[in-house]
Assembly symmetry: C2
Homo-oligomer: 252 residues x 2
């Protein structure tokens, strides 16, 4: 049994709490949050606290709070000699400040409040300041996922950057398409099958090989016609990406 | 039985041929291509020809060739009084030139050579110059898909534009992320679950509500750190999209 404590009650903390409670090999000993009211529904299943001086003994303490608060929050912990990890993709392991061993437990996925997610296929990127702790973290990660990878802080930083492109930026493309549909009284859901297939396609062929469309063909007539129909913000995106796609296929 | 002839042997033509052959209520009477050699494998299942003067009688003639060739190709057809449709998202119905009834049969999906696809869930956008033909087209479309929609040329033009954002541009984001992974010796496949979930998420919440990341939070520290790590082409995309995301959330 691995004894785990979760610090935080946001989106990821909630998902982790839910999955850890279910696993026989994981003993979720405690969940901490400043706001204990929000956790009342958990009190029958797990010990809850809003007092950092009340933390019970655990093998791993998992901080799942917003990136910008991690440094300061960790410096308040009184966990001398214990093993403390954060769950962020964008900050280094050494952002954790305190008299304890450090580590990172980063599930590479987007989590939505209220939307259940299967952890089994989510890559969990782990890192620790010493090998013994890494083994504990690896064991913990394998309890919930089939895809556990040792990833350094530097590698994780790059992964997070790539994730901005495939998640944040891709989602913004969906938003722009939604806008175009709304403006023309067209149902956005007509695009769902195309969206899904576009995401699936790159698992069998590379994005470079999967590229199609007027920018790739350098079809200036269609590009011109498209630009005429867009508002200024859409036009700026269209122009930048069209240029970038065209360059990808002419310089290589 | 609806008698259908396919004109073309590219990507979409191949997928349509395959699905039409399987359907009992569809009689695929002929497939035309300039290059008959490439269609030899079909000759046991369907009549093939490379001669436009040899076209047999059919209820619908489906032109599935590249957008830019449709006008000229259609003007060569000797199909007086027949019903001829194209399959393009980006051009109007009236692009078809000839002494026949016009229509459009546009499956809103990305097709990959050699990768099988299920037509059942693909939206098929249909249009015709008269109601009788539209009914034939609707019946044909329903044989292969559960999602058949009457869409005008003007609406289809807008849909195609939206499709450029969710397909061409989204795929380019995948390519940029792939680049970042390759440059840092990281496996691109670690991003697959995130890519899939990002695509699935917007079926339950709007893209606007699904948006996360430094641009939405206006987190200039993280944005700055990201920009430092990108090459000039990646930087231009990052800057344009970050500005657009930030604007979406400050002006609304």
């Amino acid at each position: 049994m691995i004894k785990v404590t979760i610090l935080g009650n946001g989106n990821l903390a909630t998902h982790l709490t839910r999955v850890f409670i279910k696993k026989k090999e994981i003993d979720l000993v405690q969940v901490y949050s400043r706001n204990i009211e929000k956790m009342k529904h958990l009190s029958e299943k797990v010990s809850i606290t809003d007092n950092l001086l009340d933390l019970k003994d655990a093998d791993v303490y998992i901080i799942a709070i917003s990136d910008n608060s991690i440094a300061e929050f960790s410096s308040q912990l009184n966990l001398k000699g214990k093993f403390v990890v954060h769950t962020s993709g964008s900050i280094t392991m050494d952002t954790l400040k305190g008299d304890f061993s450090r580590g990172v437990f980063y599930p590479l996925q987007t989590f939505t409040k209220g939307k259940k997610i299967k952890f089994k296929s989510i890559p969990i990127c782990i890192e620790a300041s010493n090998e013994d702790d890494l083994i504990i973290l690896e064991k913990l990660a394998r309890e919930i996922s089939n895809d556990v990878r040792r990833i350094t802080s530097l590698e994780r930083e790059k992964l997070h950057l790539a994730a901005v492109f495939v998640n944040n930026f891709v989602n913004h493309m969906y938003q722009k398409a939604n806008e175009i549909c709304d403006d023309n009284y067209l149902p956005f859901d007509i695009l769902y099958p195309l969206i899904k297939e576009t995401a699936k396609k790159i698992e069998s062929i590379s994005p470079m090989d999967a590229q199609t469309g007027p920018a790739k063909r350098n079809d200036s007539k269609t590009i011109e016609k498209h630009l005429e129909q867009l508002n200024s913000s859409q036009k700026e995106i269209y122009t930048t990406l069209t240029k970038s796609i065209t360059n990808s296929f002419t310089t290589k």
